[in-house]
Symmetry: C2
Subunit: 432 residues, 2 copies
């Protein structure tokens, strides 16, 4: 048996706001030796430096000489793994380069630029025998893991339908004042701060589900996608585009005559995507970021013995459930708290303390990083691996193509090339 090292050597590529959350959570652990950070943005590097100082960590090298300096990092640093939290367009090319250096990449979530890069990372990972993890934190959300636990113990019967999505008002993040992350401006691009600098451009250029994995990942785990099951088709439908323009012209910092008011946003305000699986389940995914709304991803998990739906942000009580054998009243919802508490996932119980101590999005951010680091240390398979990454990232270009064709059904590629038949679902198991 492999004797795990006490610490692994790690670097972060792309250390903006999200990368800094990873950074801080890495520094809270005693099994990571953070050697280097690559980011061309000096404003962000100053923030990262402040975090390092807060934790009294020295000798972390910064690679800040432009967009491609991460290649120098790969060349110079002796690292086991790298966390990639850069702007979306660079994730896969940076990961492929890491693999070429024998470094294991963990990729923050997004959608792919195109299908070809999804195939490319699969092929590179297989060729070099270097595993890849997608750092999809919502897979580890407490309610999703309790529901995962219940599904795998048969409480929902045979699954039939899942809904999910990324449904969150991002307007004040897509536009800001160039200084603060949220609000107080209608700037973007070079004048914007953090995601407004680059992420908003996707709403101008692309009409498709731009951010599929938070909604899709947890459902993929439930349905054993790439692990005994597979997607066969995808079709996407976009509404008109209204919210971002309206936000700009109604903003006290914008108005109908400001430069941003002339922008033309390709992204439909709400993207509805429907998937079919080879075992006959349907998945409905919604991308909804351009208009005011309550934060609620809209999960629904339904089987032959009942269903659950979420209504807010992932706490065990933030949902409704009806399981025929457990319902307190026939054909009436129960609040989800009782059942989900009873089936709270073992990892959430085991890491009760740690899940409260992280920065970012709460306990799920501890668990996604923990899962990555432990698997690297123990050389055990990632539960969310390169096939999941390719499949989940591929939703973006496929949904774009379907929308461009009026909702035409697209065949979903099988990135496992048939291996899905024998692969086993290893999500939610601690590989230690």
């Amino acid at each position: 048996m492999h004797q795990p090292p006490e610490r692994i050597n790690l670097a972060i590529i792309g250390c903006g706001i999200r990368g800094q959350e990873f950074l801080e959570n890495c520094l809270k652990r005693n099994d990571i030796h953070l050697t280097a950070i690559a980011d061309p943005d000096e404003q962000m590097n100053a923030r990262s430096q402040a975090i390092l100082e807060k934790y009294n960590v020295k000798n972390v090298r910064f690679y800040n000489k432009g967009k491609f300096d991460y290649l120098e990092l790969y060349k110079n640093e002796t690292i086991d793994a790298v966390i990639i939290a850069s702007p979306w367009e660079d994730h896969i090319s940076q990961a492929i380069a890491a693999i070429d250096y024998g470094i294991i990449p963990g990729l923050e979530v997004c959608g792919a630029n195109n299908l070809e890069e999804c195939w490319a990372i699969v092929q590179k990972s297989e060729e070099k025998n270097i595993p890849v993890m997608i750092l999809e934190n919502v897979c580890f959300r407490r309610d999703m893991m309790a529901v995962f636990n219940m599904v795998k113990q048969g409480l929902f019967g045979e699954l039939l339908l899942c809904h999910g999505g990324f449904q969150q008002d991002l307007r004040s993040l897509k536009f800001n004042n160039g200084k603060e992350r949220r609000g107080f401006g209608v700037q973007l691009g070079e004048q914007g701060f953090s995601e407004a600098k680059w992420r908003t451009q996707y709403s101008i250029d692309r009409n498709g589900d731009l951010y599929p994995t938070h909604g899709f990942g947890p459902l993929s785990n439930l349905l054993d996608i790439n692990k005994g099951n597979r997607l066969t088709s995808i079709a996407s439908f976009a509404t008109k585009s209204r919210g971002l323009h309206k936000y700009i012209i109604e903003s006290p910092f914008g108005g109908p005559d400001c430069p941003s008011a002339s922008l033309d946003f390709k992204l439909g305000d709400i993207i509805t995507t429907v998937f079919q699986t080879i075992h006959g389940e349907t998945i409905v995914l919604t991308h909804d970021t351009n208009n005011p709304r309550a934060n609620n991803f809209g999960f629904r998990v339904q089987g032959t013995e009942g269903l659950w739906q979420d209504l807010a942000s992932g706490n065990l009580e933030d949902g409704l459930i009806y399981l025929e054998k457990y319902a307190t009243q026939k054909n009436k919802w129960d609040n989800s708290l009782d059942l989900l508490s009873q089936y709270d996932h073992p990892l959430w119980k085991k890491y009760k303390k740690e899940t409260t101590e992280v920065v970012g999005y709460g306990g799920m951010d501890f668990l996604v990083l923990h899962t990555f680091i432990e698997a690297v240390k123990h050389k055990t398979p990632f539960p969310l691996d390169v096939y999941d990454l390719a499949t989940w990232y591929a939703i973006t270009p496929l949904s774009e193509k379907s929308i461009a064709e009026g909702g035409q059904v697209q065949i979903f590629p099988d990135f496992t090339k048939g291996k899905w038949i024998d692969r086993k679902n290893n999500f939610g198991i601690e590989h230690i």
Copy 2:
């Protein structure tokens, strides 16, 4: 101006359980002279007779000599209008025959047998200048009418997305003991009672959204479909079929060896249908009747200024709402009660007493009948007319075709032949 008659002469074709609810609600009114009932089922006629006796109504003629005796009714009776609440397959042919006799038909809801009959009723109605109403009661549901009111007053901004559906556990109605309507058996067809006699056969023969109008009708009103807006496409996706077989084999009255256990159900357990409109809205419709669930049609109405979703069965408090200008907390749901009460529809206020006194599904059953009868009396246009009927009924054969083609997008026919451009939405207005 047309002087309305004090009473209209009315008949009912198909007077099963649903027809009897109409019958009783007709007898509660003083502006209807019910002259005749046509139904070949003597068990049902005995129940209708009992209702007539309860209200001390005499001289109602029964046409009970087989399935086509309604044609004798049309020939012999002097009636203004007919309510058609027969098994689904007969609705349109019975309505077309009524029009030929100059009788105004009001049709209970269902899906069409095929597209051709949708065109046929439109053409017949136009040719004879006889209006047709679809008696879609959920359009008049209290929460839906409050939301309609709010949408038309601009509280949601510009609409983007609507969800709805027929999501109700019908297993104990699809199968029964041949005597009681719900449960206590796994009989169907000749051995079943009420809908089990004929409705269940649709789950054996057809894979599509069999019952689209309860979910679609209210959304159609919100989106001005056929009245300034129109559907351009439809695509449908079916899950595997599991629930009905499971119900039969697990029933204490059934089991794996009972005759019903060998039935093969074509109907996928959950049908997801996505529509696109010419103004760029998306509609998602769900048909979900074969498995245990909480009663909740799953409405969601979303515009550029916020959204509402229902969580139960149509009371003003059975939902969540987030409208940016009215929300008590940023990005958090409020219960729907306060806003929906404030915008309670004038018809619900005006008929406060009557809406509590009907049988069937509550106040909406008063309002749908009232709307039909008042429009017949006053010769005013129906708010839910033959174009709505054709459009809503057509969902069934179109969704079937899409599913059969793997989810392929279908062009949605324009039954108004271009008149949608100038037609005005007259729903929710009392035409007196």
